[in-house]
């Protein structure tokens, strides 16, 4: 009678030549889970997202959504099934307005049209604090708004799982704080969140589980403070002691 987890990775591996970005990764994610992912540069964090979103196909292993294999589906189909992602380098539609950027996601990702679509797009812009820039061209936005647009576009697809790839990178402290509140709100309405972030402080505002990756392997998974305190994780982060960054 147990329900299948929202997302499951089963022995997923991906290598480019001799470089291994995912080494037989297995993990399971429940509905409305909030998970942070940390790891040094090149640990395979973004690759993990790409394997989940379909931008990369694994060499081995299986990715399942609701117990159904989605390994062979393309990113568009996975998005329509409820997995939306953001990109570290924003992939905004530069010459389109902020509203239109989100509307594309609402049309295809969420499958809405007409007034319903306009309504959801407006709602998402409101939620992400972009309502005032609705008619602005995406190319004219500053970094903070660009990062928010990336998030807004993912939310426009009405996802059940949203993958955030360094949406807080480069933002000032108050800006990070604003973003954390938005993500916490998204999570509170039942959307599962997986968040890759170097600004660990931001993660602590939202996640209750932390995964640490290094060289394509999972070297820590559990309660955030416990994970950061573990020896394996400390070794990897020698010199950048995340324990100190963690509040409290």
């Amino acid at each position: 009678m147990t329900e299948a987890p929202l997302l499951e990775l089963d022995g997923v591996s991906k290598r480019f030549g001799s470089i291994v970005v995912a080494d037989s990764l297995s993990l399971s994610l429940g509905r409305a889970d909030a998970v942070g992912i940390v790891g040094p540069n090149g640990a395979g964090k973004t690759s993990l997202f790409s394997l989940i979103s379909g931008d990369l196909r694994p060499n081995a292993g299986d990715v399942r959504l609701d117990g159904r294999s989605i390994t062979r589906l393309d990113p568009a189909s996975r998005c329509r099934l409820g997995i939306a992602r953001t990109y570290q380098v924003p992939r905004s539609f530069e010459h389109m307005t902020v509203f239109e950027n989100v509307l594309v996601a609402v049309h295809r990702g969420a499958g809405l049209r007409g007034r319903e679509a306009f309504g959801l797009a407006a709602q998402v812009l409101d939620e992400t604090g972009l309502a005032d820039t609705a008619n602005e061209r995406a190319g004219r936005l500053g970094l903070q708004q660009r990062k928010r647009l990336e998030l807004a576009r993912a939310l426009g697809a009405r996802p059940r799982l949203v993958l955030l790839d360094e949406v807080a990178a480069g933002l000032t402290d108050p800006e990070v704080e604003g973003l954390v509140q938005i993500v916490a709100g998204v999570r509170a309405r039942g959307v599962a969140v997986v968040w890759v972030e170097h600004v660990v402080r931001a993660l602590f505002g939202v996640v209750e589980r932390l995964i640490c990756l290094a060289a394509g392997k999972m070297i820590g998974d559990g309660e955030p403070r416990a994970v950061l305190a573990s020896d394996a994780v400390r070794d990897v982060f020698l010199g950048t002691d995340y324990g100190e960054v963690a509040p409290g």
Partner: protein, 334 residues
């Protein structure tokens, strides 16, 4: 965020009312349609060429400017359209009625071809489209019933008074160009058009929010083939003959690229301005022989270097002007 505070917005399709544009368009169309009653055939002839180039430019812009498919092989479908009219007229059909069928034939032929070429990217795609066009040319050369290498003459218009024939050719060309332009505009205003605009700006981003890229590209490829087919059909009707070497010439692709690039790629207005610019250049340099091509080439290079967004990029951006508004404009409900 609770449901009660859900924002309500009003969304319109342009910042300003575009009624005056519609009126201007209808007036312009009516004026153009009455042209054969006022001017001589040499003028309408010029317009026929203008409409053919406009049709090619608009469809190539859809391909390259929106779907990111830089084809240098649209002449494949120009040829298919022309030869389809030749064959249908040979069977006794009126060449004018065969024009839409020429477009349809090109569209049908392009479907299986799309499954081969669309799997290639960038330069590989470009070269593949050219190879397809060359293959079509070679196939025609080996088909004596199509005139082979010596070309073929279009029959079926022999008994028609030249003045009437030329007027009808003009109207057919006007109809094709208007249908292409309006069709393109309407397409770009749909949800599918918004997808295409998103693909234009960022393909990976579009894919990630659920846009089916391959399907969108295939549709555009087929639509562009239909446009090229219609242009080819018009060419044979206006010239009354067809030659494989010239109808399948890569020169057509050069013209299309020039028109879209000069005018402003990825905009509806661009190819119109580009076609106008091309004709002005052509007319003013007509007596200077080879200089004409040199100047056209130099203009294209300079524009690509210094005005990458084309003439319409200069005008439209400065005045926030859209002759063909395809976007969405949001206002708070109250």
């Amino acid at each position: 965020m609770s449901e009660s505070t859900a924002p309500s917005v009003r969304v319109s399709r342009s910042r300003r009312s575009s009624i005056w544009m519609l009126v201007a368009g209808v007036v312009l169309l009516a004026a153009l349609a009455s042209l054969p009653y006022v001017v001589y055939a040499n003028v309408t002839d010029l317009f026929v060429n203008f409409f053919i180039l406009l049709t090619l430019g608009v469809t190539w812009n859809l391909l390259a400017g929106y779907a990111g498919l830089v084809s240098v092989g649209q002449q494949a479908y120009i040829g298919v359209g022309a030869y389809a009219v030749l064959v249908l007229a040979g069977d006794g059909m009126s060449p004018f009625l065969a024009i839409p069928l020429g477009a349809l034939t090109a569209a049908i032929v392009s479907i299986p071809v799309s499954f081969i070429v669309l799997h290639l990217r960038g330069a590989y795609f470009a070269i593949a489209t050219w190879v397809v066009a060359e293959s079509f040319r070679l196939a025609v050369l080996r088909a004596p019933s199509l005139g082979g290498g010596t070309g073929a003459t279009l029959y079926g218009l022999a008994g028609v008074d030249p003045a009437v024939r030329e007027a009808f050719t003009y109207w057919a060309a006007l109809a094709v160009a208007a249908a292409t332009l309006i069709g393109c505009y309407v397409l770009l205003r749909t949800r599918f058009g918004l997808d295409l605009t998103a693909i234009r700006d960022n393909e990976v981003g579009a894919r990630s929010v659920g846009v089916r890229i391959m399907q969108a590209k295939r549709i555009v490829y087929v639509v562009a083939a239909a446009g090229a087919g219609a242009a080819g059909a018009l060419l044979i009707v206006s010239q009354l003959n067809v030659q494989a070497a010239s109808i399948f010439s890569v020169q057509w692709s050069a013209y299309m690229i020039f028109v879209a690039l000069i005018g402003g790629i990825g905009t509806v207005e661009g190819p119109i301005l580009g076609t106008l610019a091309f004709f002005l250049l052509q007319q003013s340099l007509a007596e200077r022989g080879a200089w004409y091509l040199i100047v056209v080439g130099a203009v294209a290079v300079l524009m690509a270097m210094f005005v990458p967004r084309g003439l319409w990029g200069l005008v439209g951006d400065r005045f926030r002007l859209r002759l063909f508004p395809t976007g969405y404009w949001v206002r708070p409900a109250r």
